[in-house]
Amino acid sequence: MNGYVLAAWLSCGGLLTLYALRTLRRERALRRSLSPEDPKWR
């Protein structure tokens, strides 16, 4: 396994995971502070 290959995969995977988690965290934070009305995804 080559160092560069690992670096590329890890950095790319890490970046995307971080962004996904950030979006989910913000979504959960918003949903908790809104009233419990069922969200209709238009």
Binding site: S11, G13, A20, T23, L30
Partner: protein, 278 residues
């Protein structure tokens, strides 16, 4: 490689999330272990399973943003949906753009020995990344939802035009980047490598879709947060005038239904407690 559990409320996005994870797992497994090293590039070929897919998703993101902006600008089609889709596409696109630059420069370091080359395709992606940062910064700077949507859709169109013209400009620029390996008529990639590459496109494509859906939903929630916050602020403002006790006649303020929100639901603890991280 991705341990994120994918909680989401509706069945469809959960399915989308899990299938994205599955496809990416297969891509990782095939890409790193199963497929043979390339006769020319040796181990570096494994980056082939990340970089092109991520780059394609980057352009897909800005494509979604440009199309949604056109739809928003079209008088008949205008609706907040397009604006939310535009920002979702742009933000996810800029993340993939960052990933593209990252993997691209690592690949450059590996095969050409230098982190950054003034290669046509890299310059174009860098300009696109800078434009997207400008777009996102601009959206954060404008409060009024209507003019924010209007201004950002115009900027998005300008971005798309600039990218298209850049594309031809960079063709005359000396390019070290080897041509489209996959789309060329006789692909120089075959067997395991081709299979892994296709799976990588599938995996990152599903991930891209999943991210856009969630980012879109985040925008919907944010808008509802704004509307509820507004109703809260409206009541506070009205109380201000009643406390001042200025008017002889009782003011009969019919609470106007503002924008899309139905009558604002009863508010629990002051929403300001959980200010969303912008």
């Amino acid at each position: 490689m991705r341990s994120a559990r994918v909680p989401s409320s509706t069945r469809a996005t959960r399915a989308l999330g899990w299938s994205a994870l599955a496809a990416l797992a297969v891509t990782t497994w095939w890409g790193l272990w199963v497929s043979p090293p390339d006769v020319v590039q040796g181990q570096f070929v494994r980056m082939l399973y990340v970089h092109p897919a991520v780059a394609t998703m980057c352009y897909a993101g800005f494509g979604v943003c440009a199309l949604a902006s056109v739809a928003w600008l079209w008088p008949r089609l205008r609706s907040p949906r397009w604006d939310r889709l535009a920002v979702a596409g742009a933000e996810v696109g800029s993340v993939f753009c960052a990933a593209t630059l990252l993997t691209g420069s690592i690949w450059g370091r590996a095969s050409w020995g230098v982190w950054w080359t003034w290669d046509a395709r890299l310059t174009l992606t860098a300009i696109l990344f800078a434009l997207s940062l400008g777009y996102l910064a601009l959206r954060r700077a404008i409060d009024n939802p209507h003019s924010r949507a209007l201004v950002s859709s115009m900027v998005a169109l300008l971005m798309a035009l600039t990218v298209i013209v850049d594309h031809y400009a960079t063709d005359w620029f000396v390019t070290l980047h080897q041509g489209e390996t996959l789309l060329t008529p006789d692909p120089t990639v075959h067997g395991w490598q081709l299979a892994t590459m296709l799976v990588s496109f599938l995996g990152f494509g599903l991930l891209f879709a999943w991210m856009v859906v969630h980012r879109y939903r985040l925008e919907v929630l944010e808008e509802r947060y704004e509307t509820e916050g507004f109703a809260f602020a409206l009541q506070a403002r009205r109380a201000e005038s009643r406390d001042a006790g200025t008017s002889g006649r009782a003011l009969a303020p019919a609470v106007p239904a503002v924008g899309t929100a139905a009558a604002p639901a009863p508010l629990r603890a002051a929403p300001a407690v959980e200010v969303p991280v912008r």
